[in-house]
């Protein structure tokens, strides 16, 4: 599937495909032409993806073929035991987690889960967790703490679910509790935004020693659509809203609100999932290696100091 701004690339790739078919059918050597077209496509891709607007990055972050949490776990871990339920209400399918093994290292991986087909999307509630999802996440984090295993959270949500029952069961309290508890976790916590990082629903599992964003993701207090509807009473100004919110990985790093950016393959994570898994695995293992030797007290102090320094104000 191609996004609107990828149309020129799509056209060239269709041409390339035709060329291959023609060469095969007519048995003519077109390798020279193929090579030249391939070069042209690569150039165009490089140019397109190095000049993305903020809204285009938002589009990429929501690409329907993009890997989701369970895809990453499958691509990175050699073993995975999924754990369910918040021991209170029910198992929230929009939040998944369990113990995993990465290169012989045991870790706890927790993340929002979106679905790919209509039915699965509904099952996963479009990646919008209910309070029990946040409570399940906290339960798993406490388990990781008990067994002294690092925690990795993968963030990909259009927001915490704004439903009637979510309010009855204390959506605000559930997220708030996670924020406070995550600061005191004795084990290393590594948080990675792999798609959408919408507001409190994202932050609810994103308090960590290292918070990183994949190159084509967004993270902010509100989605561009909702921002547009509040400011201009319609969703039509989402591009403008995305620009105003400065919600890309590059923006967030510049504002010192995250610790790093994880490079994606050319064209986005979905264009070469294997390469993406390899890169993310490398980043995770490096972070664990860096954080593990520290004393838990130091890590907690560093985590608190880092978030305490965030803000822009003048004092006179």
């Amino acid at each position: 599937m191609y996004l609107d701004f990828e149309k020129p690339i799509a056209e060239l790739e269709a041409k390339l495909h035709d060329m291959h078919v023609l060469a095969k059918e007519s048995n003519v050597d077109m390798s020279k032409e193929v090579k030249s077209l391939e070069g042209k496509i690569l150039e165009l891709k490089k140019e397109t993806y190095s000049n993305l607007s903020r809204w285009q990055r938002v589009q990429l972050s929501r690409h329907p073929e993009r890997p989701y949490t369970l895809d990453y776990i499958e691509g990175i871990a050699t073993k995975f035991v999924e754990l369910h339920g918040d021991r209170n209400v029910r198992d929230d399918k929009a939040m998944v987690g369990g113990f995993a093994e990465i290169d012989g290292e045991s870790v706890m991986i927790i993340g929002h889960q979106k679905g790919r087909k209509t039915k699965e999307r509904q099952l996963r509630n479009f990646g919008m967790a209910n309070p029990e999802g946040y409570r399940k996440a906290l339960r798993l984090m406490k388990l990781a703490e008990k067994f002294e295993k690092p925690i990795i959270t993968l963030i990909d949500t259009p927001g915490a679910f704004p439903g009637l029952e979510a309010e009855e069961r204390g959506q605000g309290e559930a997220i708030a509790r996670n924020l406070k508890e995550m600061f005191m976790l004795k084990v290393p916590v590594i948080c990675i935004i792999i798609g959408e990082g919408a507001s409190g629903g994202a932050l609810g599992i994103a308090i960590g020693d290292k918070v990183m964003m994949l190159e084509n993701t967004w993270y902010s207090v509100i989605s561009p659509e909702s921002c547009s509807s509040i400011l201009w009473r319609s969703w039509d100004h989402k591009e403008k809203a995305a620009e105003a919110l400065k919600l890309t990985a590059q923006d967030m790093l510049k504002a010192k609100l995250i610790d790093g950016i994880v490079k994606e393959p050319l064209g986005g994570a979905h264009n070469d999932p294997q390469a993406m898994f390899k890169e993310l695995k490398k980043v995770i293992l490096e972070a664990i290696q860096e954080l593990s030797p520290m004393k838990s007290k130091e890590r907690i102090a560093m985590r608190i100091d880092k978030f305490s320094a965030m803000g822009a104000y003048v004092e006179k």
């Binding site: 915490a160 679910f161 704004p162 439903g163 009637l164 979510a166 309010e167 009855e168 069961r169 204390g170 959506q171 605000g172 309290e173 997220i175 708030a176 509790r177 924020l179 406070k180 508890e181 600061f183 005191m184 507001s199 409190g200 932050l203 609810g204 308090i207 993270y219 902010s220 207090v221 509100i222 921002c227 509040i230 400011l231 201009w232 105003a244 919110l245 400065k246 919600l247 923006d251 967030m252 504002a255 609100l257 985590r303 608190i304 978030f307 305490s308 965030m310 803000g311 822009a312 104000y313 003048v314 004092e315 006179k316």
Partner: protein, 280 residues
């Protein structure tokens, strides 16, 4: 020929001087429409003596109600907003802040003070809804964080009075991280065994509910306050149905187990002091 001749062209009265009745003499309850003397209204903590309706009040009034003799040391009063994102909608963000400062005489949407309540030391932070909807940006987050640090330094209880529409959109990512910052400081306060009382007033929603407002050792609300995470309009659009009567009211939130109790503002000071007294 007209009966009267206007000697001056156009009569211009600045808005703040425009008064239908002399200011501060009379107050009409918006709920039961009873008219009372303003003195009577303020003496009953801005609660209607007839129907118990709690008028929305600001930090100035809450400080008057809670601090002994209204004596307190104001903390970090010189903090004001930056413009980290150069955010522009209908007007640039700094202009919006400046207009709100001019209108309200406040620097931002929260004030904090250190003083005595029934003879005991306490730090109180209180939000002002008049300032851009009581929204939480960097200044609100930083002032609350510092107020908590002050309570830790003085080893005294911290009381937070929330009244907010949530995070301030114009500071985007910065606003979001204030939820994290304030929660971090509350974790430290908690670890040091100091009491934290969160008072939720009308309205308390969004990122404020999803951080410090819900993290009290004691979560207490004023009667009838709107308290929730998502706003009623958003929920209505999500579920495609009308919301039940009383949904997201303080009484509803108490019923679902997220508040310790609801307190009449006229009893608030005594009840807080009684509670804190038992923890000593």
């Amino acid at each position: 020929m007209s009966w009267y001749k206007r000697t001056e062209k156009g009569i211009v009265t600045p808005t703040e001087e425009k008064l239908e009745v002399p200011d501060g003499l009379w107050h009409q309850c918006p709920e039961c429409k009873k008219i009372m003397q303003a003195d009577e209204h303020s003496a009953s903590s801005y609660v209607c003596p007839a129907c118990g309706y709690h008028d929305r009040i600001n930090s100035k009034e809450y400080f008057e109600i809670l601090f002994d003799d209204n004596a307190f040391l104001e903390l970090d009063e010189n903090l004001s907003s930056g413009d980290p994102l150069k955010f522009i909608d209908s007007q640039p963000y700094p202009a919006r802040v400046a207009a709100s400062q001019k209108k309200t005489g406040l620097k931002d949407a929260v004030r904090s003070g250190y003083g005595k309540m029934n003879g005991s030391d306490v730090v109180i932070a209180c939000m002002d809804f008049r300032f851009i909807g009581g929204s939480m940006g960097s200044v609100v987050g930083e002032k609350i964080a510092r107020a908590i640090d002050y309570a830790r330094k003085k080893k005294c209880p911290f009381i937070m009075i929330s009244k907010s529409g949530g995070a301030r959109m114009m500071e985007a990512g910065f606003s979001l991280m204030q939820m994290a910052k304030t929660s971090a400081k509350l974790a430290l306060l908690d670890k040091e065994g100091l009491p934290y009382i969160s008072i939720l007033t009308d309205p308390t929603t969004g990122g404020v509910t999803a951080s410090y407002a819900m993290l009290g050792d004691f979560n207490i609300a004023e009667p009838g306050s709107l308290i929730g995470f998502a706003g009623p309009r958003v929920i209505r659009e999500t579920i495609g149905k009308d919301l039940p009567e009383g949904f997201q009211s303080a009484e509803f939130v108490l019923e679902h187990g997220f508040l310790d109790f609801i307190v009449d503002r006229r009893e608030m000071k005594k009840k807080l002091a009684d509670l804190l007294g038992m923890l000593k």
